[in-house]
Amino acid sequence: MKPVVLKAENLTKNFGSGHTAVRAVDAVNIEVNAGEIVLVMGPSGSGKTTFLSMLGGLLQPTEGVVSLDDIIISDLHESKLPPIRASKIGFIFQAFNLLDALTVEENILLPSTLTSSSKKESNERASWLIDSLGLSHRRKALPKTLSGGEKQRVAIARALINEPKLILADEPTGNLDSQSGLEVVMTLHDIARDTGVGVLIVTHDPRVEDVADRILWLEDGRLSKRNEEAHIWVQDPVCGMKVDKLTARYSSSYHNQKIDFCSERCKQRFDSQPNSYLAGVI
């Protein structure tokens, strides 16, 4: 049994108060094991960014506990979190978030300056990462001269320089073309398998499903396990949008047939005038 590198229990985040309060993340439980790739998918506004921020120690939860490598980070004061983030978490962002004034090599090495590792060790590891990720010819380049795929590989190298326990990747393929995105996906897969780092990826990209060990669905702040089977797509008879039968939340019964809708609005329209949409019923 591989060790648990990340564990969150009853994780909740509320914003605002009173009648304007919003529960962005609602009592979420999750575990990520070493060497495991966990995928979290969900629609926009489902709370993925808030969820990821809490797991990375960037946002204090309202309730619940986050423990990373057996350290309960959710209880720690903000001033204690930076060294934990530097040594135990590798961040990968959709927008790459490289530092424009620093070269590829300097970007990769930056997190190592925040730990107690020796300069020699860090330089050797950086060189190995640069070579492994095919960035040797771009070592001294500035980020603005890199392609999207190259930038993301630099970000991956930066995330790995301190040999973290956990990688948190937010839409790592979001700004990439299909080929570059595929390369990044495969790289993350290899990292998890070869180094034993736990990888949690938040994405809309269906290609990542192919490499994930587990797929979770986050919607309206709640996390559920995605069905292992393939999607069953049907068409909303009101607006025509595709709806996954397995996860649809709005449905009506019509002539003993279950009709799925993308939203409450479409369901109400159908219910008020079903005959108008009969042609759209699959």
């Binding site: 960014t49 990821l52 921020s53 990375g56 960037l58 946002l59 001033s79 930076p82 060294p83 934990i84 983030r85 530097a86 040594s87 961040f91 962002f93 959709q94 927008a95 978030n97 530092l99 424009d100 004034a101 620093l102 300097e106 930056l110 997190p111 300056t113 925040l114 930066r158 937010d170």
Partner: protein, 369 residues
């Protein structure tokens, strides 16, 4: 972090150079005005400094030369000269007056010299000869340029005309240009005979001048005596005092301006770097370290401004008297050190507010594209 601190600063070249230039301008103003005042203050005491007797004797109650009136009976000079400690006494008559030359008026100080004086007159002539006859005058060389004068021209002193026989160097300041005439001509002008204004006392070698000062004050009634050092110090203090409030106000205004420029520039830098600061924090850089980076960037901008201001001033200031001969400038090392200290304070003050903004940047911003 050190690399990021400077590389990100240099990547914002426009902000760096614009703010440094702005602050440098403020520093240049401070250096310029302080140098002009230092130069003018030194020029005010140029005459007594060049004369450098061991002791100055003047009317009781008077302690300096500039802007003063002093009268000492001529027989008191003999009294002092007869003292065994005294080698020589050189009297001068001294007057403030408006001098008119070719319709150009100038407030100046007129020194009346004994005939054949070789002690208390101008120390360097650029043209002409010493005073030999009646109604002859030696004029500062700078005034020659200002009023387009030549040897032989006539200038007016009160109701008397004087012929220019020479031009002197180092005797002009905008506050007290010094003219030289015969003492007897000045006596006639004042209708006052048998009095001197100041006695320049040279003592014999080995004499304790402080004790001689006390002796003169005891033995000669109604006179004040001061060592040369004390006398010049009084004049210099008076000269500085006349301008100290102006200089202080100018320095304060320019320093506030510099602080505002640095504060604005640092704030602009932090705003531009907000995303990167959030990234740094997310990656694990502690807030105090980022705080220090902002302080260092502010310090660098200000020190660069100070360096530019110093180099510019040292290059340009010596040219000013060539272009504007009536201005004397004297930049000193202590002045530059003072401005450097001001620069340091400016940098620290200017960075405080932007640095606190850094502390409030949320690392979770990294998830906003």
């Amino acid at each position: 972090m050190f690399k990021w601190t400077f590389k990100s600063l240099f990547s914002q070249k426009a902000t760096l150079f614009a703010s440094s230039f702005g602050v440098a301008s403020a520093f240049i103003l401070v250096i310029f005005f302080s140098s002009v005042w230092q130069g003018e203050a030194e020029q005010i005491i140029a005459y007594p400094n060049k004369m450098e007797p061991d002791i100055w004797v003047m009317q009781k109650g008077v302690e300096n030369l500039h802007m003063s009136m002093s009268f000492v009976w001529d027989w008191k000079a003999k009294l002092i000269e007869d003292m065994p400690e005294v080698k020589r006494v050189t009297p001068i008559l001294y007057l403030n007056s408006v001098i008119v030359a070719k319709e150009k008026k100038l407030f100046g100080f007129v020194v009346g010299l004994l005939d054949k004086d070789d002690r208390a007159g101008p120390w360097e002539l650029t043209q002409g000869r010493g005073i030999e006859g009646e109604n002859e005058i030696v004029v500062p060389d700078v005034f020659r340029e200002l009023a387009s004068l030549e040897l032989g021209d006539t200038i007016q002193l009160a109701d008397r005309s004087f012929n220019i026989v020479a031009f002197s160097k180092g005797t002009y300041s905008s506050a007290n240009p010094v003219f030289f005439v015969r003492l007897i001509d000045l006596e006639k002008l004042l209708s006052s005979f048998g009095t001197f204004s100041y006695l320049l006392v040279d003592s014999n070698e080995g004499v304790d001048n402080d004790r001689l000062v006390e002796k003169i004050k005891q033995k000669v009634s109604k006179v004040n005596a001061l060592t040369h050092q004390a006398f010049v110090a009084n004049d210099f203090a008076l000269a500085k005092q006349m301008g100290v409030e102006i200089i202080f106000t100018m320095t304060l205004i320019c320093s506030i301006l510099a602080v505002l420029i640095i504060a604005y520039s640092s704030f602009a830098l932090v705003s531009v770097q907000t995303g990167e600061i959030a990234i740094l924090k997310a990656l694990g850089v502690r807030s105090p370290l980022v705080f220090m980076s902002v302080i260092i960037q502010s310090l660098f901008m200000t020190m660069l401004a100070f360096l530019v201001a110093s180099l510019f001033s040292l290059w340009v200031l010596p040219l000013i008297p060539e272009l504007v001969p009536q201005i004397t400038v004297r930049p000193t090392t202590s002045l530059l050190v003072s401005v450097g200290a001001i620069a340091f304070i400016v940098a620290a003050l200017g960075a405080i507010f932007p640095a606190y903004k850094v502390l409030s940047i949320d690392p979770a911003l990294v998830y906003k594209n």
